[in-house]
């Protein structure tokens, strides 16, 4: 009388009622990092660099999870596909979007764009700071504050290649700011997309990113 045990994957066409903890922690962690660095912390300050380094960890963890994580967390569950993304947006405009087992194709493109830009912002931030850890940045700033300006001269930076280095840093600074602003712009679209999608689907997409609901978990 008992049906054969269903594999969890056979229900893959329904997005999870609760995303797994790695997805949730990396999502809200990265959101916090972005918002704090864009709004709260001063560019180049110890806190800014510290938040950025935490961002590196969260992003790395999420990317690893995209390879070894459960089915719906894997990149293969939401491959980047611009055509499918456009199709999905068209369906959304017509008010009857398709269901997917993970992010919908438009959401997937958004996720890759945000991760990619985060990588750019992090990389350019590292160039600007010469790859110094937050601890070193703090130490240097403390040294400068106490009047020892030599902390600003890094080994390997003195001499001929200094100009070249500065050129790179200026470029990095430009890219850093542009990419950071682009992230903020995309996040607005992202949140709007989540709201529209939730309305069209008739279910709250944010709840599975938070705690899920008791009802969902029992189901």
């Amino acid at each position: 009388m008992v049906a054969p045990l269903e594999s969890p994957f056979s229900r893959a066409r329904i997005a999870p009622s609760l995303w797994d903890p790695v997805i949730r922690i990396s999502h809200w962690g990265l959101a916090l990092v972005v918002l704090s660095n864009a709004i709260l912390t001063e560019g180049g300050s110890t806190l800014h660099v510290l938040a950025g380094w935490i961002g590196i960890g969260l992003l790395a963890l999420r990317l690893l999870w995209g390879i070894v994580g459960p089915q719906e967390a894997r990149f293969s569950a939401f491959p980047p596909n611009p055509l499918a993304a456009l199709r999905h947006l068209r369906q959304l405009a017509q008010g009857r979007p398709e269901e997917y087992g993970s992010h919908n194709p438009a959401g997937a493109m958004m996720a890759y764009a945000l991760w990619g830009l985060l990588a750019v912002v992090i990389a350019t931030g590292l160039v600007m700071t010469g790859g110094r850890t937050p601890m070193q940045v703090a130490a240097d700033q403390a040294a400068v504050a106490s009047g020892d300006w030599s902390a600003l001269v890094k080994p390997g930076e003195s001499g001929d290649d200094e100009d070249e280095n500065e050129g790179w840093k200026d470029a990095a600074e430009e890219v850093h700011e542009v990419a950071a602003n682009l992230i903020l712009f995309l996040v607005l679209l992202h949140v709007a997309g989540v709201a529209l999608e939730s309305r069209a689907m008739g279910r709250n997409l944010v709840r599975p990113m938070l705690t899920g609901s008791d009802k969902d978990r029992r189901k």
Binding site: M1, V2, L5, G131
Partner: protein
């Protein structure tokens, strides 16, 4: 539901693994940053080989941590799926049995509530009926089922669940 035992334990295990993985990943990132910094200041450092080994070990630790977490999550989901199946199957069993006994729709409702552990007063309240009515319905249900009373009535299905439950785990 009183599904506390293995599932609760696995959930707690999941939370612990996640916390561990997070701390480990952040530690690796900061450690690698530090190593690269050291390396650039003193490329000939004898530290290097040692630090490269530690970095490799830490990174492997993160990967294995992620794999362990993945396995725990998979197990948790498989258990939940099995429980769903058992629950769905049990209600199928109950439904079929009620039909076989020829219970009326009202008797089926009362029977289900009784199986869920409600007493006569509670069933009466849920159904907005008099307690005397519910008691009479229960008596008819027990007699149609050929059981002596509530305990035997419930046991009838529990036995089914235990037999099937073992199979569903396999």
């Amino acid at each position: 539901m009183t599904g506390r035992t293995p599932q609760e334990a696995r959930r707690r295990q999941t939370a612990a693994l996640v916390a561990f993985l997070l701390v480990q990943t952040l530690a690796v990132v900061f450690f690698i940053g530090d190593v690269i910094g050291d390396l650039r200041e003193d490329p000939q450092s004898i530290h290097f080989i040692f630090e490269a080994l530690v970095t490799g070990a830490l990174t492997l630790g993160v990967v294995f941590g992620a794999l362990a977490l993945r396995r725990t999550i998979d197990l948790l989901r498989a258990q939940e799926a099995a429980l769903d199946v058992a629950r769905g199957a049990l209600s199928d069993v109950i439904e079929a049995q009620f039909a076989a006994w020829g219970l009326t729709p009202a008797e089926r409702d009362v029977g289900l509530l009784a199986l869920k552990g409600l007493d006569v007063a509670e069933i009466a309240e849920v159904r907005g009926a008099a307690q005397g009515t519910v008691r009479a319905q229960l008596t008819r249900i027990y007699s149609k089922a050929g059981v002596s009373g509530r305990a035997q009535f419930a046991a009838y299905f529990v036995e089914d669940l235990m037999g099937q439950g073992l199979k569903a785990q396999a």
